[in-house]
């Protein structure tokens, strides 16, 4: 078999529709099996544009002779299927008579798969957006449980290394006769009262750049100076304490239950860490926390108790009163002060450390 014959057999057998037409009248010289299957067997007088409906013949003529190269896409309906073909036409005149080589590739399946990928992408993208939203919700929830910097560490490493902060101040508040109130009031009322008050405290704490660590029943614990160091941590917690009491006083004027609180302040070292593996709680431990807790018990209703060691840090902004010493369980003899009020000049409108 000659090379030409082999070539011709190959042309007939391949899955690409191939036809040769004369450039001058667009009539067929050759077509292979695939071409005939898709577009029918052309008669000798049939022109290319009659077989490939929708083909822009004018464009073809405009191309002129020489390096003719033309690409197009045609759509035909076979039974109920829409078939899409990519058509490539190129010029050839090796036989003396200028011919056009027409190649048709069935790209229907490619188009179908493209549609499917589009459809799938839409599904996946929507799901991704939902997951993003879910992630934001989880993040907001975790940020309620721990400071942002601790959360970032937790997110990156999966654990939080306990960290010692040398200079922090703690404010701890507890209500007078809370157990009594809770026992004679509907629990939902108790909860809504606490919720109301603690939400207000949270806003105050935020205003002074402190972190609320936790509430334990009716006790409220916030710190300043961790996880971000703050030079004026002592005065920050004192400002919070004064505003806690002022808020309660104002609230008591218009509410049936008159809340009375005791507040303890302390400065010193504390360790902060996430406690637990399944149930994360960010907590603080250390001498400053213990002392504030003890002083809060010791304080009189609606008074703020602090150790004398804090006096120096508070004198510039607050009125303080020395109240002698007390023997505190587990701590020993401690000289104490009461934070009575703010100096008029020190009534800052709150500062942002962000």
């Amino acid at each position: 078999m000659s090379i030409t014959a082999i070539n011709e057999q190959l042309l007939r057998a391949i899955g690409v529709g191939v036809a040769l037409v004369r450039q001058r009248d667009l009539q067929f010289v050759f077509f292979n099996q695939s071409f005939a299957e898709w577009f029918g067997t052309p008669d000798p007088e049939t022109r290319l544009d009659q077989v490939l409906e929708g083909l822009d013949v004018e464009m073809l003529k405009e191309q002129g002779e020489g390096a003719l190269r033309f690409s197009s896409e045609i759509t035909i309906k076979r039974k109920r299927r829409t078939l899409i073909f990519a058509v490539n036409i190129s010029g050839a005149d090796e036989t003396g008579e200028p011919l056009l080589v027409v190649e048709c590739q069935n790209i229907t399946r490619i188009r179908e798969l493209e549609s499917m990928i589009d459809s799938y992408s839409t599904m996946v993208e929507r799901n991704t957006r939902e997951l993003e939203r879910e992630k934001d919700r989880v993040e907001r929830l975790l940020l309620n449980l721990m400071p942002r910097s601790v959360y970032e560490e937790f997110k990156t490493f999966g654990v939080v290394t306990p960290q010692l902060y040398q200079d922090v101040s703690v404010v701890m508040l507890d209500f007078v006769n809370f157990t009594d109130f809770a026992s004679r009031t509907d629990p939902t009322v108790t909860l809504s009262e606490l919720n109301d008050i603690f939400t207000a405290f949270d806003r105050i704490v935020e205003q002074y750049g402190c972190e609320r660590i936790k509430t334990i029943g009716d006790a409220y614990l916030a710190v300043s100076g961790m996880p971000r160091p703050t030079p004026d941590h002592a005065s920050s917690v004192a400002h919070c304490a004064i505003r806690f009491l002022r808020y309660l006083e104002r609230r008591n004027q218009s509410h049936p239950h008159k809340w009375q609180a005791r507040i303890g302040l302390a400065s010193g070292a504390a360790v902060g860490s996430v406690v637990g593996i399944q149930k994360y709680v960010y907590d603080v431990f250390g001498p400053a926390v213990n002392l504030a807790a003890r002083l809060q018990v010791y304080a009189h209703p609606m008074k703020i108790a602090a150790p004398l060691t804090m006096e120096d840090a508070l004198l510039d902004e607050f009125d303080v009163k020395r109240i002698g010493s007390a023997d505190l369980k587990g701590i020993g003899e401690v000289e104490l002060i009461n934070v009575v009020g703010e100096h008029p000049s020190a009534k800052r409108a709150g500062k942002s450390i962000f």
Binding site: E112, L113, S115, M116, S119, Y120, M123, V124
Partner: protein, 120 residues
């Protein structure tokens, strides 16, 4: 959380093949192909991809309103519904789904019968 059939059979990789087979089967069928006469290609593929993904528990919500909207005008009878269910069964078999899982899937399809069949 139990694994969905969608994940069990390899996710979209397999679903895409099931969809393509099912698509060919319904279009080539003279009994029911007529329903798809005027549906354009991207829309039909999109519909089937989402429908089959949702049947198998894939990442898509495909509610009955949508099913009702696309089938409402087609006058589909119970016999047509059964016929297409069989084609789907064939497509699922062709891609190696176990008998029990095919049964589960077809039961899920059958639960949509009232939405798809529109002739009383």
């Amino acid at each position: 959380m139990s694994q969905t059939l969608y994940d069990k059979y390899g996710g979209f990789k397999t679903v895409s093949r099931i969809v393509m087979t099912f698509y060919d089967l319904v279009l080539d069928s003279d009994e029911v192909g007529g329903f798809f006469e005027d549906v354009d290609l991207p829309r039909l593929v999109d519909h089937q991809t989402k429908f089959i993904s949702s049947l198998l528990g894939g990442p898509v919500s495909f509610n009955d309103d949508r099913l009702l909207a696309v089938h409402r005008t087609l006058d589909i009878g119970h016999a047509d519904f059964d016929f297409i269910s069989n084609l789907l069964c064939e497509a699922l078999e062709a891609h190696g789904m176990s008998e029990a899982d095919i049964k589960t899937t077809l039961a899920a399809v059958d639960s949509k019968r009232h939405v798809i069949v529109t002739t009383s």
